[in-house]
Symmetry: C2
Subunit: 104 residues, 2 copies
DNA sequence: CTATTATGCAACTAATCGGTTGCAAATATA
DNA sequence: TATATTTGCAACCGATTAGTTGCATAATAG
């Protein structure tokens, strides 16, 4: 199934999973303890994150440690890049306004 | 209805709408011409974008011009900020690798 | 005034989503 | 070997999603 990074981060639970494993790799069971849902539900989220390569797995016996893959997050950053100039412009305009107020 | 910016940008059509009106404010009809769907479908996307304040409207007679609101996009940027250090670290490590290769 | 145009809203629909439970496979432990 | 643990997969379910069509409303044009 073709997965999209933007769709992957749309869900708050998935964003929380990303935030957790960004700190340290975790197993599905360990992750599930942080949420109010079943392990299987968490596993489904992990599967989606894996499919769009936001997450990588590392087998350790019967346990699987899931790692965060930061490079994939750059896709979002690159998309934002196009608009960053716009809100920075807006800030510059705000700066001008504040400057004008000060000069009065 | 409570809307989430992350959910709003999850849909590719909505991202395309944002990209279009970021260049210049547009009416729903004008927007719909860029897509392979009905005007009403586009209007529903606009509604979602408006609810989460990514888009603002300006009435001009019977026409409504929709504007992009860049400040709301900052929410996404701020969320990314937490992870930016991680992929920059990764780049630094890559730099080290390249440096070591050069020294050989 | 009448017709046309631009828009939003409501109702319906198929597909997807996020959740559940049950089960099978593989590894660790007693 | 027998049992417990960790995990993924499949089937099912209710809610949500993105799309459609039809219609009402308001502003413009003839």
């Amino acid at each position: 199934m073709r997965r999209d990074v933007f769709q992957a981060i749309a869900d708050p639970t998935r964003r929380a999973i990303i935030a957790l494993i960004a700190l340290q790799p975790m197993t599905p069971n360990a992750l599930a303890e942080h949420f109010d849902t079943s392990r299987q539900a968490v596993s489904k989220h992990i599967k989606i994150l894996t499919e769009c390569e936001l997450v990588r797995q590392q087998q350790a016996g019967r346990e699987i440690y899931y790692h965060f893959n930061p490079t994939k997050m750059k896709e979002i950053d690159q998309w934002l890049e196009k608009f960053r100039a716009l809100w920075e412009d807006r800030f510059n305009q705000l700066d001008d306004v504040l400057l004008n107020l000060q000069n009065k």
